[in-house]
């Protein structure tokens, strides 16, 4: 049964590469018109799932439909319904920005009458209009990324997949692009399927699926997910972390978790908890801070690991570096 309001339906999807199971029995449904976020650490299976939904990979088992069409049996209909900004570079760097967009407009059959205006619109959005006649090989890494986003938006697809779209872009450009995407969503009712490592971007989503080792471990709105954490996060820095964790367990019966910032304690009301804690803590305290839960904390709560471990700024740079090395290109 295909329900009209479910633009993507995934049922028991499995993808194996040899004996590695990249996607492990994933089931989910995306509603028409929503922003659906996909959150998970590196190698969780986000890109693999998207590739299957976009007909670039065949599932090992399970089914998926997009816009009512099966992604294996009705590939052409599925392709007509979607747009995709790939995680990895996908431009023809020997051609100019305009020629890249013209190619795209051609294969997606954008009517000639609106082609020119559309191209101008998206190129101005990403502030590349002045550079439209330059070959992409002379673009910087961020400019290439912006062009790819412009291209993904060019044909106003029913479902837009954004696989870490704003990786490596400066804050102004990111907020610019988000404004446009949200406007597009409002005006055209586009459904957006998004993966990102930026928590502020994930918060834009109506619903988020958290994926780890190919399995979906939670699926809810960002607020509901954060409520699962229970309350506020108090982070303390101490002279002896182990002793501190033991002491917290003994006095408050709370299982504190250690992460890169220090020891995280989840409490109902942070403001009231801090004085109680600080008053009579035996282990030496170096610092206390309080914050509302983030999606990071949700992931930590669910898996006991940090999602950021491998996805912080440093890792991002490392990844781009190895990518550009693999291409023999310059550091972007």
């Amino acid at each position: 049964m295909i329900r009209a309001d479910r633009i993507i339906e995934v049922d028991d999807l499995v993808k194996k590469f040899g004996n590695l199971t990249a996607v492990n029995k994933v089931s989910l449904a995306v509603r028409a018109g929503e922003i659906f976020g996909f959150l998970g650490p590196n190698g969780a299976g986000k890109t693999t799932t998207i590739s299957i939904l976009c007909t670039l990979l065949r599932p090992t088992s399970g089914t998926a439909t997009l816009n009512g069409f099966d992604v294996v049996r009705h590939q052409n209909e599925v392709r007509k319904s979607l747009g995709l900004v790939f995680q990895e570079p996908s431009l023809d760097i020997k051609l100019t920005a305009m020629h890249n967009l013209e190619f795209h407009a051609g294969v997606y059959n954008i009517p000639r009458s609106i082609r020119r205006q559309r191209m101008e619109e998206v190129l101005k959005l990403v502030e590349l209009w002045d550079r439209r006649k330059d070959k992409v090989q002379n673009y910087s890494g961020g400019m290439r990324r912006r062009l790819e986003i412009a291209r993904g938006l060019l044909h106003h697809p029913k479902v837009l997949f954004l696989d870490e779209p704003t990786l490596g872009l400066d804050p102004q450009t990111r907020s610019h692009i988000w404004q446009y995407i949200l406007e597009l969503k409002e005006k055209q009712g586009i459904t957006i399927f998004l993966t990102t490592h930026y928590m502020d971007e994930a918060n834009v989503a109506d619903r988020i699926a958290i994926i780890d080792h190919g399995k979906i471990i939670a699926l809810d709105s960002p607020e509901a997910l954060k409520r699962r954490v229970g309350g506020d996060i108090v982070t303390i820095k101490t002279e002896n972390d182990e002793a501190a964790i033991a002491e917290i367990k003994e006095r408050f019966n709370i299982l504190a978790q250690q992460d890169s910032d220090g020891i995280c304690i989840e409490v109902k009301n942070g403001e009231e908890f801090i004085p109680v804690l600080a008053n009579s803590f035996k282990t030496g305290l170096r610092g206390i801070s309080l914050r509302r839960p983030t999606l990071d904390d949700v992931f930590m709560k669910l898996t006991g690991r940090e999602i950021r471990e491998e996805s912080g700024g440093e890792a991002v740079l490392r990844k781009q570096f190895s990518m550009s090395q693999a291409r023999g290109g310059r550091f972007t």
């Binding site: 976009c54 007909t55 670039l56 990979l57 065949r58 052409n76 392709r79 007509k80 979607l82 995709l84 790939f86 990895e88 570079p89 996908s90 431009l91 023809d92 760097i93 020997k94 051609l95 020629h99 190619f103 795209h104 051609g106 294969v107 997606y108 059959n109 070959k135 291209r151 291409r327």
Partner: protein
């Protein structure tokens, strides 16, 4: 209609890229220049008028062979560009687009064929240097043969590119295929005077028929009688040569489209 448009767009992009890369266009003339002018002169003077019945220069004999060589070499570039597109990610943009894979493969094949044929046609500037008179019909035959040559090898390249992921492996495989195709043909030596073991291999090579057709077109049917390719004791006329070559090209193109369609 949609498919035709897709074929056109893929073809157009290949031509655009080629047009942007003038160095390649000119650079591709350098190797054949060396073959024709240096190798041709060297072998020609070693034979010192002893070649064939003595009325023909070796340079003139090898010229059609060199034309074939140029087209074959350049035709591998199309498959190469698929491997490059995969490496640089552009292939994903193509494969996720709502156009049929067959249309993509055909567009690629036609793009590569057009470019390789154009480079073959550029080689016709050597006609005065070689010193032959080629009729209009001869030129037409040459272009037809070059086109089918280009299509066969372009298709072969696409077939291999749809199965091979690395640039190095692709180059290696293409060279392993191309050199036998060229050297086991009458491109550089006459087919008529070969020892039987080599003669049989040459006759099994589809490229031989194309080279023979071009030679007849450039040098004339009578003049090449003593070098002519014979099948079951019959001298192959141009038209039959073309038919053999076209059959080969059609098989290659069909295999390429099928292979490209089923790749992941």
């Amino acid at each position: 209609m949609n498919n035709l448009r897709a074929v056109y767009i893929i073809w157009y992009r290949d031509l655009l890229r080629f047009w942007n890369d003038k160095t390649r266009f000119i650079g591709s003339l350098i190797t054949p220049f060396f073959f024709l002018v240096i190798f041709g002169t060297g072998i020609g003077s070693a034979l010192a008028g002893q070649f064939g019945d003595g009325t023909m220069d070796y340079k003139q004999f090898m010229y059609p062979g060199i034309l074939g060589m140029v087209v074959l070499m350049n035709a591998t570039m199309s498959g190469m560009s698929i491997v490059w597109d995969r490496e640089f990610g552009f292939l994903k943009e193509v494969l996720v687009a709502p156009i049929s894979r067959s249309a993509v493969a055909i567009g690629k094949a036609l793009g590569g064929t057009t470019i390789a044929t154009a480079q073959g046609v550029l080689m016709l500037v050597f006609i005065p240097y070689v010193g032959v008179n080629v009729s209009a019909a001869g030129i037409f035959t040459l272009i037809a043969v070059m086109f089918v040559f280009a299509m066969s090898v372009t298709s072969l390249g696409i077939l291999i590119a749809s199965r091979i992921r690395s640039i190095e492996a692709f180059q290696l495989v293409m060279q392993l295929m191309l050199f036998p195709l060229l050297f086991l043909s009458p491109a550089l030596f006459p087919a008529g005077t070969l020892p039987p073991w080599l003669g049989i291999i040459v006759k099994m090579n589809p490229v031989s028929y194309g080279i023979d057709a071009m030679r007849q077109a450039v040098l004339g049917v009578e003049q090449t009688a003593m070098f002519g390719l014979e099948l079951f004791g019959y001298r192959m006329p141009i038209i039959l040569n073309l038919a053999v070559l076209a059959a080969f090209g059609a098989i290659m193109a069909a295999l390429a489209v099928r292979s490209f369609r089923t790749q992941e």
